[in-house]
């Protein structure tokens, strides 16, 4: 159980860090949104799952899984809402020098 938790937490931290690197390095806001939305959701789910595995079967683990489920629902919704703002105001392209 501890090994599984360590692997899950390590993968989650990796995805969170790579999401941040993509947020800094990518050229325009659509690609940044791509990196931030997916990497954040997956990294948070893996990390919270690892913490729940580490805790064992307790009430705290149940609460952590509730947070993970909430993030699974809300993080793509928030990204969708932000993307809809950009679509409504016709902000489809940015130039390369704004990096």
């Amino acid at each position: 159980m501890t090994t599984v938790a360590a692997i899950l937490i390590g993968l989650g931290v990796f995805f969170l860090f790579m999401g941040a690197v993509g947020l800094v390095r990518f050229p325009d806001f659509l690609t940044r949104m791509h990196a931030a939305g997916k990497c954040d959701t997956l990294g948070s789910l893996l990390l919270l799952g690892g913490l729940a595995c580490h805790g064992g079967v307790t009430l705290s683990s149940l609460k952590i899984m509730v947070i993970a489920f909430f993030i699974l629902l809300t993080s793509p919704t928030a990204t969708h809402a932000i993307a809809r703002v950009a679509l409504k105001h016709q902000m489809t392209q940015q130039s390369e020098e704004n990096r």
């Binding site: 501890t2 938790a5 360590a6 937490i9 390590g10 989650g12 931290v13 969170l16 860090f17 999401g19 941040a20 690197v21 947020l23 800094v24 806001f29 940044r32 949104m33 931030a36 954040d40 990294g43 948070s44 990390l47 919270l48 913490l51 580490h54 805790g55 009430l59 705290s60 609460k63 952590i64 509730v66 947070i67 909430f70 993030i71 809300t74 993080s75 919704t77 928030a78 990204t79 809402a81 932000i82 809809r84 703002v85 950009a86 409504k88 105001h89 902000m91 940015q94 704004n98």
Partner: protein
Amino acid sequence: MSPAFFLGASIIVLVAVVLSLYRVIRGPSIIDRIIGVNVVGTKSIAVILLTGQLFNRVEFFIDIAVVYALINFIGTLALSRYFERRGLYRGGGIK
């Protein structure tokens, strides 16, 4: 698992928070800033839970993490609704 593991994981996530804050401060458009704030909020949940594991007080830190998840979602939706109605380009040199 040793506390050093959780400490190292927290430090890596905090470095990622600093990288996201760069995008919040620098970001050329409002959209970039909103994305950066959303990412920082999500990573703060991870940092709070890892800190709870570090101090062996998980059951106290979880409630704070729940509140952070709610505030993050509501705040991002409120910001996007506000800028959807107001427009992205009005108001000074923010672009």
